[in-house]
Amino acid sequence: MGSIISPIREPLVTGNKTYNQITEDICAPTERAPSISWVIAFSVANVLAAVFLFTSAWTIWQGVGTWDLNRTIGWGWDITNFVWWIGIGHAGTLISAILLLFRQKWRTGVNRAAEAMTIFAVAVAGQFPLIHMGRAWFAFFVFPYPNTRGPLWVNFNSPLLWDVFAISTYATVSVLFWYVGLIPDLATVRDRARGFRKKIYGIFSFGWTGSAKHWQRWESLSLILAGLATPLVLSVHTIVSFDFATSVIPGWHTTIFPPYFVAGAIFSGFAMVQTLMIITRYVLKLQDYITIAHIESMNKVILLTGTMVGVAYLTEVFVAWYSGYIYEQFAFYNRAFGPYWFAYFAMMTCNLVSPQIFWFKKMRRNLYVTFIMSIFVNIGMWYERFVIIATTLARDYLPSSWSLYSPTWVEIGIFIGSIGVFFTLFLIFVRVAPVVAIAEIKHILKSSGDQYLEKQKEYVQKQQFSEKN
């Protein structure tokens, strides 16, 4: 990385920090007793997680008949939730891998928490296909291996099977990436700890000593993992989109689905990062590391990806008309004016219209607006999946098999509960590991710390704008 930084860039570490202060600030939350707000939040999350366990157990015990799925609508809230969570799980690896390759320094403030969020979101997402199987104890049937069930193999032509491979690969690489990044920081925590705590962190930091050799290997491993993870960011949601786009269902079979799903996933992932980060930076007092500049950058990504998704929506509608294919035309007419019009309306307003507020710098830098917008986007992206799945299936080729679908209490419970599981995991994470990558923040301090940027400005003034030029 260049050591010269343009003064047009904003500082990414504020408050005139020293290396020691960085360690103190970021390690502190793991070293003190949990605050009362954490305890309350954790209890609520736990209750919701219990709801998840109960409703999933109910589904498995009673059968998938406890849901409102029927002969035409084979996928409802479950797959909607699955795609929603998988989408959320995109931002972490995008931030850690693609932004690492692009040398975007602002990633350091948020990458750790975003990666953690990714892993938890993917873990939650993975539950839905499992529950949907009904006989979840036969889940291992999805893996292809020579078995004793006769010549019974998985269907390699099915995108649902590709999903199994894509998501498990993605989860593996994401966990590796996140954990490798954590090692130096866990060692920092270990070095400050005493007694049993030191032992535990000692085990988890794999004997990291911080020698030059360790750092060198750590750097190259990070880069290799980034290279591997980058295509994965695209592949996972591409293959999720194949679940729909390979079929000959109007509204599903359209070639723009792969990149449009990826853009939508990044969009929703960043929205969830915003939701979490705005709370985290406030509760853990990390405003100097997750600055308004970070929030603004992420809002720009949200604006960009939201508008890309918007281009895709409008392209789909246009091409449905252009195709001259009446079933395709009906599918889109039905989305906008059929029984689920409210879902389409929510999707369009939350995903395409409302992010346009971020054209204004004031709005991008306003925490309240950002927080509300992030919730809007989360809602909008959930509705997008619902629109794609339910409205399409509810209006089949055959009007005689048309029907409607509304979730039962079990399905609602599973969805609300899944949010509880996600937050339970995230809240544990903020207690046990540094939420911001200490080592990486230290790495950018000399180039992006506020006190150093002043000196950069003097240098650039002298080099580029003095009289001799």
Partner: protein, 413 residues
């Protein structure tokens, strides 16, 4: 700062290229079928290709301004020269548009009254597929891009004179860049549908616009790499180092992979669903143009992927030149494959109805011949002449760019 002088030898070289192009066009015209389909499709292939390269360079330039990208600051003048070519490229597109209005070419099936009158599918699309829309998209959308291009270029030159450490000019450039992204994002799709996708008037694909854009993007980066290497050989840009080439190589690699991703997505989904209306597009290409069909993937994906995957090949000029030349030809072939099958189909149909004798003589153009390459060389000459002229009109390095110092001290790894 250094300024570029357009040497006599270079003028001669590009001039000869252009003469080759003109001669090829004349020969094509003289030996063509009664509808002059080969002549006009040659113009469409190249005009849309180079207009597209100019457009996407403008798009990339705007994106880089908004993304706080700094490492390219040294050679951003080359990108500016590329996107100013919009002014020339769009003239060709307007001529093609006039052709749809006045009927002096018959590239588009939807523009032939006789064919449309017996085709209900095209009739249903006539609200969009008509000369008025074609002209509107080409002139209004094209002019809006060119307007933004001129604004950005003018501000960039102004910054050289009045730029200071407050970067006021740069902040105004950001406004235009922010306008360009949604403007280009929404309007380019319509232009691409009209210019290229509508050649196969029945067929449609939602991904087509992004696919075409990604193809232009790879070609744009390849031209950028070749230009920088050439200027560096001539002694300009002493501070452009292997690190810059490394990043440019990464662009070439990454955008090639991205192009392949979109190619695969479009092909695979159409193949998998196996709906006749959609597969016919690939069916034609696989049946009559198998060589170009596979060469397209081999040159534009397999070659850059395996050559540029290594670290060091992105830092060596030899490998970069090699890959750049190949992918430029490759993406031009891709355009050939997008244009020619549809035009041949339409031509044959019109001729069989109006001129059975000529229809019997008419044969499919399954490979680009010398004339096609001749016209391509002509357009390269025109593009190169234009780029070098506009480079010679302004300092080569934008001395007051906010990121210049970063770019001068750029280090990868």
């Amino acid at each position: 700062m250094q300024s570029f002088s357009f040497a006599a030898g270079e003028r001669k070289f590009f001039g000869i290229c252009m003469i080759i192009g003109v001669i090829s066009l004349i020969i094509t015209y003289l030996t063509d079928d009664p509808l002059n389909s080969r002549f006009w499709s040659n113009i469409l292939i190249n005009a849309s290709f180079f207009t597209g390269i100019a457009f996407i360079t403008l798009f990339l330039y705007a994106a880089k301004i908004l993304a706080y990208s700094g490492w390219h600051a040294q050679f951003k003048r080359i990108m500016e020269s590329f996107y100013m070519f919009l002014g020339i490229g769009l003239i060709f597109m307007v001529v093609l548009g006039l052709g749809t209005v006045m009927g002096f070419h018959s590239l588009y099936e939807w523009n032939n009254e006789m064919l449309v009158s017996e085709d209900i599918i095209i009739q249903n699309k006539s609200a969009f597929l008509n000369p008025m829309w074609y002209m509107f998209a080409t002139i209004v959308f094209g002019a809006s891009w060119f307007f933004v291009a001129r604004q950005l270029r003018a501000l960039s030159l102004k910054e050289d004179k009045v730029g200071d450490i407050e970067f006021k000019v740069h902040k105004r450039m950001k406004v235009w860049a922010a306008i360009m992204l949604p403007l280009g994002g929404f309007t380019s799709a319509a232009a691409i549908w009209l210019w290229l996708m509508s050649l196969d008037a029945h067929w449609y694909s939602t991904l087509y616009g992004w696919y075409t854009g990604s193809s232009w993007l790879v070609a744009s980066v390849a031209f950028l790499i070749l230009t920088i290497i050439y200027l560096k050989e001539r002694g300009y840009y002493p501070k452009v180092t292997d690190d810059h080439f490394h990043d440019l190589g990464k662009y070439l690699f990454a955008f090639s992979v991205f192009w392949a991703y979109l190619w695969f997505s479009q092909y695979m989904l159409i193949w998998y669903a196996n709906i006749g209306e959609a597969t016919v597009y690939y069916q034609t290409r696989l049946e009559y143009y198998p060589f170009i069909f596979y060469a397209n993937v081999a040159i534009n994906f397999i070659l850059p992927f395996f050559v540029l995957l290594r670290n060091d090949t992105k830092r060596k000029k030899g490998t970069l030149i090699f890959v750049s030349i190949f992918v430029i030809i490759g993406h031009w072939l891709d355009k050939f494959l997008m244009v020619v099958p549809g035009v041949d189909y339409t031509t044959k149909k019109i001729l069989s109805a109006t001129n059975p004798e000529a229809a019997a003589e008419f044969s499919r153009l399954i490979m680009p011949g010398f004339l096609e390459f001749g016209v391509f060389i002509g357009f390269i000459g025109l593009f190169g002449y234009f780029v070098f002229t506009s480079l010679s009109k302004a300092p080569l390095v934008a001395s007051k760019d906010p990121y210049l110092e970063e770019s001068l001290h750029h280090h990868v790894v």
